[in-house]
C-alpha cells in the first residue's frame, strides 16, 4: 500500500487538489449563484482596480528584493513621502530658484556618485550632470503645477532612494540579510518621523484628479450591464493603466537590459556578483531609486484616490500578501498577486457581507493556501539548497 502511494504520489497530489477545488466550488456555488450578475461584474472591476494599486506597491518591494534579497519594510513610508513631495511641489505657489537648483544638484550628485566620488573626476560626467541639473531646475520653475509636481516628486524620491541605499544599506553589503531587513525597519521609523515633522499628522486631500471632468472624461464611468448600472472610478482606472505601464516597462527592463540582468545576478549572491565584476553598489543604488520612484507613483495615485495620511503606509501591509503570493522575485508575480488579492478581497466582501472577511481574512487565507501548495509563490524561483 505504502509503495503504491509512493509510486503514485504526483497523481495523488493532483487528485487531492482537484477534489479541494471541486469542494470549494460546491461550497461557493450557491453563494455566487445568489448574487446578481451585475454585482459580480462590479466587484470584479473594483477588485481589479484596487488590485492595480496593490500590484504597484508589490512591484516596488519585489524590485528591491530582486536586487538585494531584502524585504523592504520601509516601502509604505516611501510611498507616503512620494505623495507628500508631489503634493508640496504641486500646490506651492512659487518655488525658490535656489531651492530648485539645490534639489536638482543634490539629486544629480547622488546619481553620479553611485559608483563612487571618483566619477566626478571625469569632465564628461560632470558636464552631463550639470546639464541635467539645469534642465531639472528649469522644469521645477515652470508654472505648470502638474509638471512641477511630477518633476519634484521624481527628483525627491530618487534622491531618497539613493540616499537610503548609500547611507543605510550599502554599509551592510556582505552582512547577513537579516541586518538589512532590520535596517529597512529602522528606515521606516526615520521616514515616519521626518514626514510627521514636515507635513504634520493631519490628512491632506490631494486634488490630483480634480481636473478629470474638465478633460471631458466621465467621473465615474457608468455603463449598463445585466439591467443594472456598473461604475468604474475614473481615477482608479487611470491608476490601473499607469500600473500596467509600469509593469510592461519593468518586465522589459529585466528582460532586455544588462542592468536588469545584473540585478538578478546580484540578488542570487552579492559576493559572487562582485567577484565576477558586477558593480553591486550601482545595482543596489539603481534598485532603490527605482523602488522609491514606484513607491512615489503608488503614493500619489492612492493619495489622489483617497487622501494623504499617516495611515497610508498600512496599505503596504495589504500588498505583502500580493508579493508573497506572486513570488518574492517575480515582476509578473507582483502584478498577478496584486490583482488576485484585490479580487479576493472584493469578492469576499460581496459574498460574505457583514463578516469583515474581505479586509481581514480572505487575502491571508488565499496566501496560506497558495504557499502550502507552492512555497515560493505562484511565479517565484524554486530554490534548492545544497547541504
Amino acid at each position: 500500500m505504502t509503495a503504491l502511494l509512493k509510486d503514485n504520489r504526483r497523481y495523488l497530489t493532483i487528485t487531492l487538489y482537484v477534489v479541494a477545488v471541486v469542494v470549494l466550488l460546491a461550497l461557493f456555488a450557491p453563494v455566487v449563484g445568489a448574487q446578481r450578475p451585475a454585482r459580480l461584474v462590479q466587484s470584479g472591476i473594483t477588485g481589479l482596480l484596487v488590485g492595480g494599486i496593490y500590484a504597484l506597491i508589490a512591484l516596488g518591494i519585489v524590485i528591491i528584493n530582486k536586487a538585494s534579497g531584502v524585504f523592504n519594510f520601509a516601502h509604505g513610508w516611501m510611498m507616503l513621502l512620494g505623495g507628500f513631495l508631489f503634493y508640496s511641489f504641486f500646490t506651492v505657489v512659487q518655488i525658490s530658484p535656489v531651492a530648485s537648483a539645490a534639489l536638482a544638484l543634490l539629486t544629480v550628485l547622488m546619481a553620479l556618485t553611485v559608483i563612487g566620488w571618483s566619477s566626478l573626476r571625469d569632465l564628461r560626467v560632470l558636464g552631463a550632470g550639470a546639464l541635467a541639473a539645469i534642465i531639472i531646475t528649469m522644469l521645477l520653475l515652470v508654472e505648470i503645477p502638474l509638471l512641477r509636481g511630477i518633476v519634484g516628486a521624481v527628483c525627491g524620491s530618487v534622491l531618497i532612494g539613493l540616499a537610503a541605499e548609500r547611507f543605510a544599506i550599502r554599509p551592510l553589503i556582505g552582512q547577513p540579510l537579516f541586518a538589512m531587513v532590520l535596517m529597512t525597519l529602522a528606515l521606516s521609523e526615520v521616514l515616519h518621523g521626518i514626514e510627521q515633522m514636515i507635513w504634520g499628522s493631519v490628512e491632506i486631500p490631494l486634488s490630483l484628479f480634480a481636473g478629470i471632468k474638465d478633460l471631458g472624461l466621465p467621473v465615474p464611468i457608468r455603463f449598463e450591464m445585466f439591467d443594472s448600472s456598473v461604475i468604474v472610478r475614473t481615477e482608479l482606472l487611470i491608476a490601473f493603466a499607469l500600473s500596467l505601464l509600469a509593469f510592461v516597462a519593468f518586465v522589459a527592463f529585466f528582460q532586455f537590459t544588462s542592468v536588469g540582468l545584473a540585478m538578478r545576478a546580484t540578488a542570487e549572491n552579492q559576493k559572487l556578483a562582485q567577484s565576477v565584476g558586477l558593480r553591486v553598489r550601482v545595482i543596489l543604488g539603481v534598485a532603490w531609486a527605482i523602488a522609491a520612484l514606484l513607491a512615489t507613483v503608488a503614493g500619489v495615485l492612492q493619495g489622489g484616490a483617497t487622501s494623504l495620511s499617516l495611515n497610508m503606509p498600512l496599505l503596504a501591509l495589504r500588498a505583502f500578501p500580493a508579493v508573497l503570493l506572486g513570488g518574492l522575485e517575480s515582476v509578473p508575480g507582483a502584478l498577478i498577486g496584486g490583482l488576485i488579492i484585490g479580487l479576493v478581497q472584493e469578492y469576499a466582501n460581496l459574498l460574505f457581507p457583514g463578516t469583515q472577511a474581505g479586509t481581514e481574512l480572505a487575502p491571508y487565507l488565499v496566501l496560506m493556501v497558495v504557499l502550502v501548495i507552492r512555497p515560493d509563490g505562484l511565479f517565484g524561483q524554486k530554490r534548492i539548497e545544497r547541504i
Partner: protein, 465 residues
C-alpha cells in the same frame, strides 16, 4: 546710605511682585467657577493627556492640543486655577495600543501620580479601564464606547468619564428622530458602515438595533466595515443598498464619512440614500476633506449628512463662549481645519479642570491632599457646563457620559454668508493653492438638546432582550 539702598531695593521688589497682579486680566462674568477657599498661587496643575495625534484620529486630536494650549494660556493670564498655573504634558500613541500602554505606564508611575488623565479614543479607554480603576486615576475622555465607560455588562461605572454621549445612545437618538419624522423618512432602513475596532463598532449593538426597531426603524443585521486605508468601498456600500438600506450610518471620522459619501455619489445614489453618523461626522475636517468629492449639485458630497452635535458650535455666535473662543482663534490665526469640535473641547477640558480643582481643593483643604480618589468624588457629584459648551452631569456617580444631545446636519455656507448654499454655484468657495476650492461647512441644528436614550446593556431604554 545702606539703609536707603535697602529700602529702594525692597520698593523695587514689591513693585515687581505687584506688577503681575495688577497686569492680570479678569475672567468675563459669564465664566463662573466655584469660589476658591484656598490660594494655590505658586503651584502648577498639569493636564496629562495622551492618545493618537498622528494616525486616523489626527484630524480631531491635533486641534484638541491647540485648543488646550490656547485655553491654558488664556486662563493662566486670568489667575489659572485658584492661582495655580495650568500646564500640559502630552504624548502620542500613533493609534497603537502598545504605545497607549507604554505611555500609561509612564504617567501612572510618576511621582506624584496624576490626579486626573485625559484620553482621546475608545480603544484606549477599553484597554485602560481596569488599570485606571486599580491605580485610582480618574480619566476624562471624548469618546463613548459602553465597554470603556461601563464595562462589558454596561452597568459597572468605572473611573473613565466621557464628555460626549455614548455612541450607542447617539445612534438610538438618531433612530428616535427618524421615527418622529416619518414623513421625511418613510420606511427607514439603516445600513451600518464603519471602521473596524472599538470606536467604529461601538454603536452597533443588539440594544440599539432593538431600540431602533421600536422606533419603526429597521437596522440591517449585516454591518459593513472598511479600513481607513481602503482605496474603494463600492462593494461595501452596494451590499447595504442591495439589502434595502436607504440610510447609511457611519461611526467614523475625517476621511471615513467622506469615503461613504463619495461612493454614494459615484453610484448615483446620493438622492436615494441619506448619510448619517456619530458626532465626529459633523466635524470641520469632514467638510474640508470632502472638497475633492463633490456631489452632482457641485457641493461637497457630505452636504446634508445628519449627525449628533452634543456641543455648541462655531456658528452659534450668540453664545458668549463661541464669541470668546472665536476671537482668540482669530487672534492666534488658528487655521480653518483646527476650528473644529476638538478645539472647542480643548477649551472645555481646561475649564473643567479649573472647576474640578476648585471644588476638590475646597473640600480637601490643599492641593497636596488632592488625589485621584478625591477628583473622582468631585466628578461623581459634578453638575457643570464648561463655558456653556455642553453640560456634564454624572448623576451622583451613576453616570459616566453626557446624556444631553441634539441632532444637526452639515451644510455649506453660501457666497454672501447669509445662509446655506443650494448648489456649488452659490456656495462660498475659498481658492486654495492646489487649484481646488474649500467650502465652508455650517452645522444646522435639527433638534434641541434632549436626553439620549439609555441603550447600555440593561439600560433604561434598552428593550428587553
Amino acid at each position: 546710605m545702606r539703609k536707603l539702598s535697602l529700602m529702594l531695593l525692597l520698593f523695587v521688589l514689591a513693585a515687581l511682585l505687584a506688577l503681575p497682579a495688577s497686569a492680570q486680566e479678569s475672567l468675563p462674568d459669564w465664566i463662573e467657577h466655584t469660589a476658591c477657599d484656598v490660594d494655590l498661587t505658586g503651584e502648577t496643575i498639569t493636564i496629562y493627556h495622551f492618545g493618537d495625534i498622528s494616525a486616523s484620529y489626527a484630524f480631531i486630536t491635533q486641534p484638541l492640543l491647540a485648543g488646550i494650549g490656547d485655553a491654558i494660556e488664556y486662563f493662566n493670564a486670568r489667575g489659572g486655577a485658584c492661582g495655580a498655573q495650568l500646564a500640559q504634558d502630552n504624548r502620542d500613541t500613533g493609534g497603537d495600543l502598545a504605545q497607549t500602554q507604554a505611555h500609561y505606564d509612564y504617567y501612572s508611575t510618576l511621582d506624584p501620580k496624576p490626579d486626573l488623565l485625559v484620553l482621546y479614543a475608545s480603544p484606549d479607554a477599553e484597554l485602560l479601564r481596569d488599570q485606571v480603576a486599580e491605580d485610582e486615576i480618574p480619566v476624562m475622555i471624548s469618546a463613548g464606547s459602553v465597554e470603556g465607560l461601563y464595562g462589558e455588562d454596561g452597568q459597572t461605572p468605572g473611573w473613565i468619564y466621557a464628555t460626549n454621549p455614548l455612541y450607542v445612545d447617539q445612534f438610538g437618538m438618531f433612530c428616535r428622530y427618524l421615527g418622529q419624522n416619518s414623513d421625511q423618512f418613510p420606511d427607514p432602513v439603516i445600513g451600518y458602515i464603519s471602521w473596524p475596532g472599538a470606536f467604529g463598532e461601538a454603536a452597533f449593538t443588539p440594544e440599539s438595533i432593538a431600540y431602533c426597531a421600536e422606533q419603526g426603524v429597521t437596522v440591517l443585521e449585516t454591518p459593513e466595515y472598511f479600513l481607513p486605508t481602503a482605496t474603494d468601498i463600492t462593494t461595501n456600500v452596494q451590499n447595504l443598498v442591495d439589502a434595502g438600506a436607504n440610510i447609511l450610518y457611519t461611526n467614523t471620522l475625517a476621511s471615513g464619512p467622506v469615503a461613504v459619501a463619495r461612493t454614494l455619489v459615484d453610484l448615483g445614489l446620493e438622492d436615494d440614500v441619506r448619510l448619517a453618523g456619530v458626532n465626529w461626522t459633523l466635524d470641520t475636517s469632514v467638510g474640508l476633506l470632502s472638497r475633492t468629492a463633490l456631489g452632482s449639485d457641485g457641493l461637497p458630497a457630505v452636504n446634508g449628512i445628519i449627525g449628533s452635535m452634543p456641543f455648541r458650535w462655531w456658528t452659534e455666535t450668540d453664545q458668549p463662549a463661541i464669541q470668546l473662543i472665536s476671537s482668540i482663534a482669530d487672534e492666534k490665526e488658528v487655521a480653518a481645519q483646527n476650528r473644529n469640535i476638538a478645539y472647542l473641547l480643548g477649551w472645555a477640558t481646561v475649564d473643567t479642570y479649573i472647576e474640578l480643582y476648585a471644588q476638590t481643593v475646597n473640600r480637601v483643604g490643599s492641593l497636596d491632599a488632592v488625589d485621584g480618589a478625591a477628583i473622582k468624588e468631585t466628578l461623581d457629584s459634578l453638575v457643570y457646563s464648561p463655558l456653556g459648551l455642553y453640560t456634564l452631569d454624572f448623576k451622583g456617580g451613576e453616570g459616566r457620559d453626557d446624556t444631553m444631545n441634539r441632532l444637526a446636519t452639515m451644510m455649506f455656507a453660501n457666497a454672501d454668508m447669509s445662509g446655506v448654499a443650494t448648489s456649488g454655484d452659490d456656495a462660498l468657495k475659498l481658492a486654495l493653492p492646489d487649484g481646488t476650492e474649500a467650502y465652508l461647512p455650517v452645522v444646522v441644528p435639527l433638534t434641541d438638546f434632549e436626553l439620549t436614550p439609555d441603550l447600555r446593556p440593561g439600560g433604561a431604554d434598552a428593550p428587553g432582550m
